[in-house]
Amino acid sequence: MSKPLPTAVRTHLTALRALLVLTVLLGIAYPLLVTGISQLAFADKANGSIVEVDGKEAGSSLLGQNFNLPKQNPDDPDEAPRPDPQWFQPRPGAYDPKASGASNLGPNSEDLAKSIEDRRQAVAAFDGVDPASVPVDALTASGSGLDPHISTAYAQEQVERVAKARNLPVDTVRKLVDKNTDGRPLGFLGQPGVNVVQLNKALVEQK
């Protein structure tokens, strides 16, 4: 008969067995169960709330997008993006889901202060408004870099510019903004906002 293993080895083998058993239960069975039920009950949401235009997938209603003019020189990676006046513009950001994240610039950062001032001038000129009236969400980047929402104030600021660029009555565009405003869930959770992706989708569908 072989000698029994030393206690320390036995403890670690017990630990390994425990980890493997729990991995099968909590790391395989549990996510599979949740995925199965989610795909049956909430397939649309579980798969990323995909929006479609004319039967073609056009992104997710939860992930913000850029609405820029085509690049003048597609080979130049440094070319500054130019916003397209036909679309409601999101908060500043790259909107690349492969690299979510924030600027992480501090409250007294000179870089941040300069970006904010540049954005204020650019947005005010683009929307034809007084620089002092540009709302804070138009000047600051979000935490995720994918924020699909803007404030109602920023959406209202853009209404006339979009209506003009699209030859639509201002009232029609304003109604679309109202329709795509998400209030606070249950009336008091979070903060209201206008979903830019949904709003711009509604613009496309406004034939």
Partner: protein, 553 residues
């Protein structure tokens, strides 16, 4: 409705929901930790693991089981992360460098979830669900197991047996964490959190540009990330990412998940020691600090001090429109007062005082209400110190819950309290002394120092959030913060288990008129004072160089 009113209603609703859960959940946890009966499923698990579920362990054996389980977990996770690209659902990620995989493995085993990698770029689905998410469950269960032994130290007399680690681990996972996770994972999917096994899904946006929509088993991992006070995001943007936290409602559910177990554990404690009033006293101290922190943090962010924030007209840099100031501050206070470290907004861009508060929350030792298990054992150690201090003041032998607090007990309590500040302050000091490591700061001056101080505070306290501008994916930071996480997690556990062993050996002493009542408001005040003075003041000089200097300049 005004934003301020909505913000406070949100806090009130949260307090109400937590209060409703306090008794039933606390009683259920107490029952889970004390019941003599094993479920049939558990018996099957014990058979495979090969343990005698009815054999109680002495504290050194319990400790060795905790350490062996954690060591095996680190090795397993390290290996899984290093080979994930050759396994199914690898999503074509590149192999992670050794130092980063080591740091990540430790981080998740130590309930920290510090992330020097970016989720969407560095992790395949299999490593997320079978590696990281499993540790989210079991590291939380380990925390509750350890606090269970400390409570048993008070309830058991003249014994060297403190329970069976494998039973505690299994029961907390199977009876508590798993069922709650299933229910809330589905609730989160209903709000829009994704749950699938897709890789990146290429689409053309409305304007015609290419965009890659990510996939993942996110909801199932999100819920245990918060419920187990872990905090490691599926994606780099963590709970700010719309696929992790899509609406104001999901945000509310997530904050609730962070707080629900830590705030219910004092009830389990009161129940187990046979005096629910003891639980109320502890939860009062926790609640006091939490409410104060939420109020101060919301106030600081609403006033958006700081030259850049002033010019923007609000502290919205790094915050999501759908959450706003109030829901972001509420999340930030809750995540740093527990050991969670998930973020729905980026603390690096908070006002100097707001960001300083998130740091101070962690420095208090994450006890209000703290991480699952670790928060309560941290608070109980401080309660022991508070009783001892009171005993010195009136010149009597200090006793807590019928156990004498002698030299041996106080040594373990003191060692517990000294561990984390040592790790934080030495780590920060060394990093600041090295020019290469100083260069890791994104911001300059006092704010840059805060980034480094935050990193070590977060690591040693097993929080895992960051002033994320700092570049930490280097050999040095991965190693140093990895060490801070290991020692910050397991040294205190050693002292807690030793303390539990010392308490359980004693014969209980009957309460006399000279015994300090530990369920009255006087004790709540005394304990709060001890928390602020003993723990908080330790860090004051370091805070003065960082957030305070920045806020006053």
């Amino acid at each position: 409705m005004s934003s301020t009113l909505a913000g406070w209603l949100q806090v009130l609703a949260l307090v109400g929901a937590l209060a409703l859960c306090y008794r039933p959940l606390g009683d259920y946890i107490a029952h889970t930790l004390t019941s003599k009966k094993h479920l049939r499923a558990e018996q099957a698990l014990y058979k495979v693991i090969g343990v005698d579920a009815d054999a109680d362990q002495r504290w050194p054996v319990y400790l060795r089981s905790v350490l062996a389980f954690s060591a095996v977990s680190v090795l397993f996770l390290y290996t899984l992360i290093r080979v994930q690209q050759w396994l199914p659902l690898g999503l074509g990620v590149e192999q992670m460098p050794g130092h980063q995989a080591w740091n990540t493995a430790i981080s998740f085993v130590a309930n920290t979830n510090w992330q020097s990698y970016s989720g969407e770029a560095a992790m395949g689905h299999l490593a997320q669900m079978a590696g990281l998410a499993v540790q989210n469950f079991v590291s939380a269960a380990v925390g509750i197991a350890v606090v269970a032994t400390l409570i048993r130290g008070f309830t058991r007399n003249r014994t060297d047996r403190l329970g069976n680690f494998w039973v505690d681990l299994t029961r907390v996972s199977v009876r508590l964490l798993l069922p709650v996770s299933i229910v809330f994972a589905l609730a989160l999917v209903a709000t829009g959190v994704v749950q699938n096994f897709h890789g990146f899904h290429e689409v053309a946006t409305l304007a015609g540009d290419p965009q890659s929509v990510p996939g993942g088993a996110v909801a199932s991992q999100e819920v245990i990330k918060l419920l187990g006070t872990n905090g490691g995001g599926f994606y780099n943007a963590n709970s700010a990412h719309p696929f992790e936290n899509p609406t104001g409602l999901s945000n509310f559910l997530e904050i609730f998940l962070i707080l629900v177990i830590p705030f219910a554990l004092p009830r389990a404690f009161g129940r187990m020691v046979g005096d629910n009033r003891q639980g109320y006293a502890i939860v009062s101290v926790m609640g006091l600090f939490w409410v104060a922190s939420v109020a101060l943090l919301t106030l600081a962010e609403s006033h958006h001090a700081g030259s850049a924030l002033q010019s923007a007209g609000g502290a919205m840099e790094g915050k999501e429109q759908r959450f706003g100031i109030a829901a972001s501050s509420l999340f930030a206070a809750s995540t740093t007062l527990t050991s969670t470290g998930a973020v729905n907004s980026f603390h690096d861009s908070y006002t100097a005082f707001g960001g300083g508060l998130t740091m101070f929350n962690m420095m208090l030792g994450e006890i209000a209400p703290g991480g699952v298990g670790s928060g309560l054992y941290g608070m109980l150690v401080l309660a022991i110190v508070a009783v001892f201090v009171a005993g010195l003041m009136v010149g009597r032998t200090p006793e807590y819950l019928g156990k004498k607090l002698g030299g041996r007990e106080m040594k373990f309590a003191s060692l517990y309290i000294l561990t984390t500040p040592t790790l934080v302050l030495v780590g920060t000091g060394v990093a600041m002394a090295l020019p290469g490591e100083r260069a890791g700061m994104l911001n300059s001056g006092a704010h840059g120092f805060s980034e480094v101080l935050y990193a070590f505070t977060s690591g040693a306290n097993n929080n895992g959030s960051a002033f994320a501008g700092i570049t930490v994916n280097t050999d040095w930071y991965d190693t140093a913060i990895g060490l801070a996480m290991v020692f910050g997690r397991f040294l205190p556990m050693v002292f807690v288990l030793a303390l539990a062993g010392a308490l359980a050996q004693q014969q209980p002493v009957p309460a006399t008129p000279g015994t300090l009542p530990t369920h009255k408001p006087l004790f709540v005040g005394l304990l709060s004072g001890v928390v602020l003075i003993v723990v908080g003041l330790t860090y004051f000089p370091a805070l003065a160089l960082g957030p305070i200097a920045e806020g006053l300049s």
